[in-house]
């Protein structure tokens, strides 16, 4: 069998939404995947699953939230001298907001995992795309970044920062038509991150969100709400005057 021609590096590959995105990818095409995460055992389990589904997998264990790793020089060492078609950034964490507000260190960590780390990695990936002249950078943000809300603004503000960072990168690469920067914005998704929440009708399955994420990546959609109806919901929420918003418990 010849080696797959599509190649991707995936950060936070143990995320449930990310696993479903890669499964959707593999339903359409084989791929060579570099799976990056902080836990070797979990990465091995993910690699098993994706290999059965037709991927060629390498794993790389790295503490994503420290900023010492020089990704721009490390990634090419794992590229088998082929270009990267996709960088997918999926790691993130939804904190206990009260705890984060009460403790500076834990607040800083939440911002580091959800904003600083993906921004640092995105910058490195951007440099590689720039050199290659083509490829896609897709990053999982969140609808939570669209408006500061009392219940979830610590996480939300980090995702908002990431959103702006990616919008800026998109602008910077606007004239490079073969380089795509994709911001994925899932709404509430049934995954281990939300296992403690009661599931209402607003929740989507990780399976569905992953399939839609892959569609958006393939199409190079600049900003994709997952599923699409969240775009309408978030537009309404963004338009709510503060006076009205403050009367809600959103």
């Amino acid at each position: 069998m010849s080696a797959p021609t599509y190649q991707a590096a995936v950060f936070g590959a143990t995320s449930s939404i990310c696993q479903e995105t890669l499964r959707a990818m593999l339903r359409q095409q084989p791929a060579r995947l570099l799976l990056i995460g902080r836990n070797a055992g979990k990465l091995a389990a993910v690699a098993d699953d994706l290999r059965c589904r037709g991927a060629e997998c390498l794993t790389l264990t790295a503490p994503l939230a420290d900023f010492a790793t020089d990704w721009a020089s490390l990634l090419p060492q794992h590229s088998a001298n082929r270009p990267w078609d996709l960088f997918l950034l999926a790691h993130g964490t939804m904190p206990d907001q009260e705890q984060a507000l009460a403790d500076g260190n834990s607040l800083a960590e939440v911002l580091a995992v959800n904003f600083v780390s993906p921004a640092v990695i995105a910058a490195a990936c951007g440099a590689i795309l720039d050199r290659q002249g083509h490829g896609t950078l897709a990053v999982i943000g969140s609808v939570a970044g669209d408006r500061g809300r009392g219940s979830n603004f610590v996480y939300g503000s980090a995702k908002a920062g990431l959103d702006t960072f990616l919008a800026g990168m998109r602008h910077r690469f606007a004239k490079r038509q073969r380089i795509k920067i994709v911001t994925l914005k899932p709404g509430m998704t049934d995954s281990p991150m939300t296992a403690h929440l009661t599931k209402g009708p607003l929740f989507s399955s990780a399976d569905r969100v992953g399939a839609l994420a892959w569609q958006a990546i393939r199409a190079g959609t600049p900003v994709a709400y997952l599923p699409g109806w969240w775009k309408l919901v978030m537009t309404l929420i963004r338009w709510l005057p503060e006076m009205v918003l403050h009367r809600t418990r959103l």
Partner: protein, 433 residues
């Protein structure tokens, strides 16, 4: 691993359990806390065998990774929370199918093993436990161990109602298919004797057989129904099923299903084709999973929930007991639509508490109408007991504790393999003291 306290339901939605629920995203190396503990798959068991009030329930649905697959032999190894639906989405395009399947694919591999589920090909292939060469079991008193066919703990865990520990991963031997379609024949029959004749005639040449039976019709129409038999076809592509498009949005009023609406439905269903037989080239989804197209259909029974009654009566008793059962049900006017009748074959399962034994099995739903419904069940139990039959714990919410050891003679052997930290509402109900 996150834990929360919340209400957990079984498919019949009769009495929820309040439990601490933990939902591991990775196969755990140790069990949470001291217990009591119970695994929970997708809650497709009807009664209370998948519930534990006041304990810790380990929800397995995120343990859904395939860990190994041999495309030459069809041997698949996966984590125990993977659904049969997800296995199908993986294996059908590759030309493989489940070795046997229950009437819904929305069950987990672990849950299917714990109830040793059976399907329309029982007379050929036995239960799912006949196709599970090995699994990994995590017990409170031992580290993870692999149990192989032939091991005592393998036999205890297959059909072991989740009481021997947590299955973390399992192997399943898939079966090759050339097409996702079946060649199907529907044959109308007018009573139980005709059903028995069709079953006997079909056993050797048809891989899948089942019958739908009208449990409202009494008198001369007693036991009328439609016999359904199918073989995997050579024609047609390896097309996947689609996810459910429709869903019942809320609990419907309890009166939606009454004897008039059910009678109308059953009559239409019985008359759905002209002539005596009809042949079809049918996709596996409508053939095996007619109800999976509608999400949360258990809401049609309303807030109070419902029972399913499933029993088997042995061949030695003849059709007499089943005729009695059908008469009782018809006279009560309480049956719902879609009662299912099938003959089990002689392939023995390794499972100590496996439900299927040779004979005729009947399964049907009953809305909870209080004492009236329970009294009907008591009358049916008496017939099953006298015939030397048994009830299916996966469907049960009310069987008598003294019937359980009578129905399951290997119960005492099974007890040696119980995990001391595991129990369930069903198990507690069977041990009232």
């Amino acid at each position: 691993m996150t834990t929360t306290t919340r209400e957990m339901h079984a498919w019949g939605k009769l009495r929820p359990a309040r439990a601490t629920v933990c939902t591991p995203a990775w196969p755990p190396a140790a069990l949470p806390g001291p217990g009591p503990l119970l695994a929970y798959g997708l809650g497709r068991s009807y009664g209370d065998s998948c519930l534990l009030d006041g304990g810790t329930m380990i929800e397995t649905r995120f343990l859904d990774r395939i860990r190994a697959f041999d495309p030459h032999t069809g041997l698949l190894r996966a984590e125990a929370g993977i659904s049969l639906d997800a296995i199908l989405r993986f294996c059908v395009p590759r030309g493989w199918f489940l070795p046997t399947t229950p009437g819904t694919a929305l069950v987990t591999l672990g849950g299917a093993i714990a109830n040793d589920v059976h399907g329309k090909n029982h007379h050929r292939s036995g239960c799912i436990g006949n196709h599970i060469p090995a699994f990994d079991l995590l017990r409170s008193d031992q580290p993870v161990q692999t149990c192989h066919a032939g091991d005592a703990l393998h036999a205890a865990t297959i059909g072991g109602l989740g009481l021997t520990g947590l299955i973390t991963a399992a192997q399943i031997q898939l079966t090759p298919i050339r097409s996702a379609f079946l060649d199907v024949e529907l044959i109308r029959f007018s009573g139980l004797d005709e059903f028995m004749a069709l079953s006997a005639e079909s056993a050797a040449t048809w891989e899948h057989t089942v019958a739908w039976i009208d449990c409202i019709a009494g008198g001369a129409s007693l036991g009328r129904g439609i016999f359904i038999r199918g073989n995997w076809s050579d024609r047609g592509a390896l097309t996947l099923h689609r996810p459910a498009r429709l869903s019942v949005p809320m609990d419907l009023p309890a009166c939606t299903l009454n004897r008039f609406s059910v009678r109308a439905f059953n009559t239409l269903y019985y008359r759905r084709f002209c002539g005596k037989t009809k042949t079809l080239h049918q996709h596996y989804a409508p053939f095996f999973y007619p109800l999976d197209g509608v999400g949360q259909w258990n809401r049609i029974y309303g807030k109070r929930g419902f029972y399913q009654y499933q029993c088997v009566t042995p061949p030695a008793a003849g059709t007499g007991p089943m005729v009695q059962i059908l008469k009782q049900i018809a006279a009560s006017g309480q049956a719902s639509f879609l009662a299912v009748l099938k003959t089990f074959g002689h392939v023995a399962s390794p499972g100590l508490l496996s439900f299927p034994t040779p004979g005729i099995t009947l399964a049907l739903d009953f809305a909870d109408r209080g004492a009236r419904t329970r009294e009907l069940f008591d009358r049916l139990d008496a017939i099953v007991r006298d015939a030397g039959g048994r009830l299916y714990p996966a469907k049960d919410a009310r069987m008598r504790a003294d019937d359980f050891p009578r129905f399951y003679p290997q119960l005492e052997t099974f007890r040696n393999h119980l995990d001391p930290s595991f129990t369930s509402e069903f198990w507690k109900r069977m041990h009232p003291h």
